[in-house]
């Protein structure tokens, strides 16, 4: 058996459950009799709280409890929500202002939790919330992603949370001084609202002093640690579970105030309490994504080889630090700062800005789409200014295959890659040669057509360590316990199939168990495109133990030398014997022989290094100049994901990623007004991409197997989004270049595109 399995396009078994209403999401499985919580949130972006009277709300029908910051204080819950702090250029740590569970003296964004009402029904809780008297003196809001403005926190002068730098600035400046050509650009990366199909929710129940929090997260262990920290409980006194989860995208990887307030309410009431976010509430309270602006510059020698790259970014953190907020546009951006190009002289400088908006943190790709977007836009601008073909400029600067393993300027060790080969493949598959004819055809119909390329590389993140445990059950089935967490990606199918490929246990006899801190001691959850790589490696190690254990058992049972026994991925073979038991049959034999120790095997593994999926996205777009509508009409992807464990699911991940990329590029447009009110707080104003906004995405695999895991695979969960943004944006630039438009920024909404076309017409006239 190959270590990467049989690479079959097995259909997702969990979809039958999801598509027939049999999914068990957090709000489906709240305990009987759970009370309903409703969160009263700040209606203003920035204000000093002068009064908070909940007397009438407490007296309202059906109300059991109203919690405020003062009540939490009285109960001894004074810990805030933790966030990691980045190092500033001077070695000090970034600002770490307290992020309270419920607002204390000030509110800093619309949607900040102020009080929680718990009642028999959610309608009663809402009725009561209308009786809360919330008095405040409004302050000016700071909503622009730039230093200055009214201070949010005393810890952050001018609202600058950190000043990060990575690279040798002197060397970069010298390279620019000696450059034959310098190309600069300012590149905006627009804010998006994550919009998971299932909003956030949780419920909590205490039994004999032990807390069970059920939450739709991306892993249970970080959340458990958070509860240990806030409640001061022993780890054994806390159980956290994640049931079926309807999309996370990094947004659900982080912790939120509700996940502490709801357990506290349940503790005070001695009854289970449930909370489920509504859509506008999600838009106001879920971590947002992207939201940065970068000034970038490329230095070239006379032969158009890049000699240095410099990025200076301002990024939005929102009102408080979310858990990883300070790391996204800094450390994570830096992972792929220089992309696929052989350049060792680079600089990344980032200032993180507090604003009176909802927190900003990881969103599908988390820093890497942002880095690739900035770089791949810059390369396109450069090619146009230098008067060379953007594809050839990339080809000329690629890291060559003979340079691997390649240590990047920011310290990543790329294991393998053959970027030119992938580019050549996509050039043919996308029929680049036929583009001029298609452009002429579009023009005949009054449309502007453009073709855009993005060559991306991704760095797989998340914990490299993972656990697996396989048990043989009395009913003749097997279970695999995993430390990852499906948010809908198809893990149940992939993990069962992989174990089946390696052991011969039929996939339909394998159940995948995830998301329960009582059943699984440690794990890394889902995030950073890590799951299948880390989980499969741990599964392989578990299977090795299983084979060894069963071989020894059979040797003793059959009185043969262990070396006379082999396992061929389906059956054990014993030299000179007709006995050829399957794994399940050996487990039965072991059970009958009283060997309980042979009914459970576990292993933990750590990847020796990260994998670096990469590939090329080629978008073709058409603009209707009469209306400014941008339509993606052709889309071709060629990816190097290494070996594909399940090609169909890998391609599905690309489709979803491209959809989210096209969404950000064309339809998703977050707008705050100067007072910090979110104007796009429902799907009436926030445009998610729809099926008819999506082209048919054609996908090709051009694998160069990774050397950093036994399967030779590379993660694929985020790659689609990483590639899509610049491909679409570069295509739009290509379409309007001949109209005299030399700079375009997302989102390409009809009104914005029409407006730049009008401005160009005006300038030409």
């Amino acid at each position: 058996m190959e270590k990467f399995g049989k690479s079959q396009a097995v259909r997702r078994v969990e979809d039958v459950r999801f598509l027939t209403g049999e999914g068990r999401y957090v709000d489906d499985i709240a305990p009987d009799g759970a009370l309903h919580a409703y969160v009263f949130r700040s209606p203003v972006a920035h204000a000093v709280i002068t009064g908070l009277n909940t007397d009438d709300a407490k007296a309202a029908d059906g109300v059991h409890l109203v919690l405020t910051a003062a009540d939490l204080q009285d109960a001894g819950l004074t810990m805030d929500i933790k966030a990691s702090l980045i190092r500033n250029r001077d070695g000090s740590k970034g600002a770490g202002p307290k992020r309270p569970l419920l607002a204390t003296d000030r509110v800093r964004f619309v949607g900040e939790p102020v009080a929680v009402v718990v009642a028999d029904t959610v309608e009663q809780a809402k009725d009561a919330a209308e009786l809360i008297e919330f008095d405040f003196d409004e302050l000016d809001a700071h909503v622009t992603v730039a230093p200055g403005g009214p201070d949010l926190h005393p810890e952050a002068l001018e609202n600058v949370a950190f000043d990060y730098g990575k690279g040798d600035l002197n060397a970069v400046e010298e390279a620019f001084a000696n450059a034959a050509h310098v190309v600069e650009a300012q590149i905006d990366d627009n804010r998006v609202i994550v919009s998971s199909m299932e909003p956030r929710g949780c419920w909590a129940e205490w039994t004999n002093g032990r807390l069970h929090l059920c939450v739709n997260g991306q892993g249970v262990w970080d959340q458990k640690d958070g509860l240990v920290n806030v409640f001061g409980l022993q780890p054994d006194d806390i159980r956290v579970t994640n049931p079926d989860v309807g999309g996370g995208f990094g947004m659900k990887a982080m912790t939120y105030p509700e996940y502490y307030i709801i357990p506290q309410a349940a503790r005070m009431l001695g009854r289970p309490v449930r909370w489920m976010s509504e859509r506008t509430e999600a838009m106001l309270s879920d971590n947002a994504g992207r939201d940065l602006t970068s000034t970038v510059a490329l230095a070239f020698d006379a032969d158009h080889k890049i000699t240095a790259y410099r990025v200076d970014t301002l990024c939005n953190l929102g009102a408080y630090n979310s858990e990883l907020g300070q790391f996204i546009q800094t450390d994570l951006f830096a992972k792929v700062l220089m992309g696929t190009y052989d350049v060792q002289t680079t600089w990344l400088g980032v200032k993180g800005i507090f604003t009176n908006t909802t927190q900003v943190d990881a969103y599908r790709g988390a820093g890497r789409p942002e880095a690739i977007y900035a770089l791949e836009r810059a390369i396109d601008y450069a090619a146009r200014q230098l008067g060379v073909d953007p594809w050839e400029l990339r080809r000329k600067n690629f890291i060559r295959p003979d340079q691997f393993p390649y240590k990047t300027a920011t310290g990543e060790l790329y294991d393998v890659g053959d970027f030119a080969r992938v580019l050549t493949r996509v050039e043919a598959e996308a029929d680049k040669a036929g583009f001029p004819a298609r452009k002429a055809q579009s023009k005949a119909q009054g449309k502007l057509r453009g073709l855009g390329l993005c060559y991306y590389i991704e760095s797989i993140l998340g914990s490299p360590t993972e656990d697996a445990k396989v048990t043989f059950n009395d009913d003749g089935t097997a279970s695999i316990y995993v430390g990852t967490q499906s948010n809908g990606q198809g893990h149940e199918t992939v993990f069962a199939q992989f174990l089946s490929d390696q052991t011969g246990i039929p996939a339909d006899k394998i159940s995948v168990i995830q998301g329960d801190s009582d059943l699984i001691a440690t794990g890394g959850g889902t995030g950073g495109s890590r799951s299948v790589t880390v989980q499969s490696m741990a599964t392989l190690a578990t299977v090795d133990k299983m084979i060894t254990g069963f071989t020894d058992f059979l040797a003793e049972d059959q009185d043969v030398d262990p070396n006379a026994i082999s396992f061929d991925d389906e059956r054990f073979r014993i030299d000179g014997s007709n006995l050829t038991p399957t794994m399940l049959e050996v487990a039965d034999m072991a059970r009958a022989a009283g060997h309980a120790d042979l009914l459970s095997f576990a292993a933990q593994t750590t990847l020796p290094g990260r994998s670096y999926p990469n590939g090329a996205h080629v978008a073709e777009i058409e603009i209707d100049p009469d209306t400014g509508v941008v339509e993606v009409v052709k889309y071709t992807v060629t990816d190097d994901f290494g070996n594909l464990i399940n090609p169909m699911l890998a391609e599905g991940q690309v489709h979803g990623g491209v959809a989210q990329g096209i969404g950000q590029a064309i339809t998703e447009h977050v707008v705050y007004d100067p007072d910090g009110q979110l104007l796009t707080a429902s799907f009436m104003d926030y445009g998610l991409p729809r099926a008819n906004d999506m082209p048919m995405v054609t996908f090709y695999s051009e694998p160069v197997p990774s050397t950093q895991n036994p399967m030779g695979m590379k993660g694929c969960g985020e790659a689609g989004t990483v590639g899509a943004l610049a491909a679409v944006a570069n295509a739009v630039l290509d379409a309007v270049w001949d109209e005299g438009i030399y700079k375009v920024d997302m989102p390409f909404t009809p009104n914005r595109v029409w407006t730049i076309l009008q401005e160009a017409k005006g300038a030409a006239a």
């Binding site: 309608e123 809402k126 009725d127 209308e130 009469d626 209306t627 400014g628 339809t667 447009h669 707008v671 104007l679 796009t680 799907f683 009436m684 104003d685 926030y686 445009g687 998610l688 909404t749 009809p750 009104n751 029409w754 407006t755 009008q758």
Partner: protein
Amino acid sequence: MHNFDFVKPGTVADAAAALQGDEAQPLGGGQTLIPTMKQRLAAPETLVSLIGIAEMQGVCKTDAGELSIGGATTHATVEAEAASLFPGLAGLAGRIGDPAVRNRGTIGGSLANNDPAACYPAAALATGATIRTDKREIAADDYFQGMFTTALDEGEIIVEVRMPIPEKSNYQKFLQPASRFALTGVFVAKYADGVRVAVTGASEEGVFRWTEAEQALGSNFAADAISGLSVSADGMINDLHGTPEYRAHLVKVLTGRAVMAAA
């Protein structure tokens, strides 16, 4: 949503009587009112459903050659039943919202609400429709009085809408990218004695007639006829989906497309 009482009368008279109560509000398909109530922005004490009134249902052609539509007729019914009699209107009805909205929303509800981005007001104004209520008949030119404002009195019920059937007609809607309401929509209706052009979604005053285009198209019903005209951005809606200039421009683009599609 706050608690409320619900009544579903079977006659217009009973409905009118029920609407005399304090804080009573008529309910058509509820496609605007129910979400508004869910957001707690409206809290009527009594909802008077109009969809159980038989005389307010259905589509037919009158002896005078008009299309008669019961006030509580759903968009889906108009789409189906007007298809051969008045395809321009059926096309409009079939592109309102999504199937769920079309199976609940009613023409009377749309006209009574007079959302500046609604589709039906454009058809009613472009056809010079007559709005018959439980009290009187109102000409479309007098009926629309600005955003969310109509000639209807409190508690007055739209029983029937009668539209003269044009020789040719078409509705062009430019979708607001998020809501899929009309960012701007134009209904063009050609009659033997002239052309009427009504614009929705664009103006701060709600639906309006583009009379210059009507005159130009009256003498030459071709997209070219309006090529020399322009629409002023003054008074056009400015929001995050469209500037006044953009909307004014769309009025002309969509009018041209509607004429091409109708001709």
